[in-house]
Amino acid sequence: MLRSEPVAGTKTRRFEIVIESLIRVLGFSTIGFVVLIFLFLLRQGLPFFFQVPPINFFGTRWYPTFGLFGTLPLILGSILVTLTAVVIAVPLGVATAVFVREIAPGWAREVLKPLIEVLAGIPSVVLGFFGMNIVAPLVRTTLNMPTGLTAFTGALVLAYMALPTIISVAEDALDSVPKSYRDAGLALGATKWQVIWRVVVPAARSGIVVAVMLGLGRAIGETMAVMMVTGNAARMPLTPDSLFRPVRTMTATIAAEMGEVAQGSLHFHALFGIGIILFVLTFLINLAAARSIFQKRRRGGLR
């Protein structure tokens, strides 16, 4: 940044100082918001951790009306749905990114990119609505099950919601691999296909990991669509067929129950307690993703 010596009058200079400090305050505000969010989650959530013994909190049964606040089924439910979604979305997302960046002819790129942006823009409640009315019946009839509202259905919908994030971040990662790498590979007699999988993708590895992390973060925090398609049964997903039975995630529990609890009750504080877990979890995931972002920034030079 440059340091200028303004030839302006004192009035202009005073105005400059005012506006500069205002912009500084705005610049710092985001840190303030993160702190504020955490503080207010703690304020309403901490009483719960004090009033309920940890044994109850990490128990296996979530029946708030009977004073049972075992969050384990909800945490495992979230993990089951999220991991399945990521397992579905990552190969599809990375493959699509490779296709768009490395292979697709110009016209295909012009069609694909806006469509993926459209997917990113569809509100989660609309996808949940679609999942409920179209995907769930489809899952039920093809797998011949009593209900289509299962963890698997949730994972399918979530996978599609995570795809735009994964595709665009992975695309950036592929984009930042220098052209000279590709040229060198081709000059050695490798096919384009070999260059993609043995040179370009390995070189973009760290960026692709970031894509996966951000997709994971997006999936675990998703609320409305998941609530509408997973059936919301708070049971421990331990049996092998759990994937094809209803589950309940942490986000869905908060969204579904907050409207019905009395403010200040133990149940009310318990829902904030789940909020704290979610906040910390996504914070860690994003921290891990951001670390690699900063490393890339420091190394620089690629673009």
Partner: protein
């Protein structure tokens, strides 16, 4: 022809197929909602109050609610977001503190929407006693929208070449004058695109407004900032899960209206971006 090229052929075909698998459902989703919802759309549907327990009539209060909330979000988020972007692009140096700000932005972007709802309930509704209101909901949505506005605006500001700033400085202009009269106008299309993309997210979100604004059924228009209101995304959630015997057509019609609101904002953002990218002087 050697086997390596056969592998390449098969591989490319497979990747095209996967891309198709990814993209096709998007078209199917939009098509199904349009086909099943278009029958419900009429002047009456868009401009009248719901009645008979929402099973008949229009969705006017939900549409107005979404417009009011999005407007409130814009008023709160634009100054903070653009100001923050100006700080990051024009004033901040690469210090540990600036890294902390960037980390905060990444984390704000990653916080689950329902956690924003909890935060809004804790701070705006209960602590500041705004009650369940348009004000509480707009502020909650505004904070959620900030990361999108900040990162796209910063990118737009950084794209303006350094010479533009040096020239102003050489003419005796102050740093703010350079920003105000040269950098900001040049970056404006990019900033506007970012703002629209952020607001589009706010318009479609349900979880943050669940506990901060939403009224299940309120067949009148909001009177003040402290009023509750219906909103399109929450209304779609309510009529598709909470009301038994809801006519399918109204559900799909509501989904279609919401989808069109969001997609048209998306289209405007894309058009602005494309138009100015072509005209950019550098």
């Amino acid at each position: 022809m050697n086997a390596r090229f056969v592998v390449q052929r098969v591989g490319f075909a497979l990747l095209s197929l996967i891309a198709l698998v990814v993209v096709l459902p998007i078209l199917v989703i939009v098509a199904i909602i349009v086909v099943r919802g278009v029958g419900a759309i009429s002047w009456e549907f868009l401009t009248t109050m719901p009645h008979d327990g929402m099973k008949a009539g229009g969705i006017l209060p939900a549409i107005v609610g979404t417009i009011v909330l999005t407007f409130g979000t814009a008023v709160a988020a634009i100054p903070v977001g653009v100001g923050s972007a100006i700080y990051l692009s024009e004033y901040a140096r690469d210090t540990l503190f600036t890294r902390a700000i960037r980390l905060a932005i990444v984390n704000l972007a990653g916080i689950p929407s329902v956690v924003y709802g909890l935060f809004g309930l804790g701070l705006f509704v209960l602590f500041l006693q705004f009650g369940t209101s348009i004000l509480a909901g707009s502020l909650t949505l505004a904070i959620m929208t900030l990361p999108v506005i900040i990162s796209t605006s910063e990118e737009a500001l950084r794209a303006v070449p350094t010479e533009y700033r040096t020239v102003i400085a050489s003419l005796g202009g102050t740093r703010w004058q350079g920003i105000r009269y040269v950098v900001l106008p040049q970056a404006l299309p990019g900033i506007i695109t970012g703002i629209i993309l952020g607001l589009l997210r706010a318009a479609g979100e349900t979880a943050p407004i669940l506990f901060t604004v939403s009224a299940f059924f309120l067949p009148r228009l909001p009177h003040s900032l402290f009023d509750r209101t219906m909103a399109l995304p929450y209304h779609l959630y309510v009529i598709s899960t909470q009301v038994p015997g809801m006519p399918q057509e109204i559900q799909y019609g509501t989904a279609l209206v919401l989808l069109m609101v969001v997609l048209s904002m998306n289209l405007v953002a894309t058009l602005i971006r494309g138009h100015f990218r072509r005209r950019r002087p550098w």
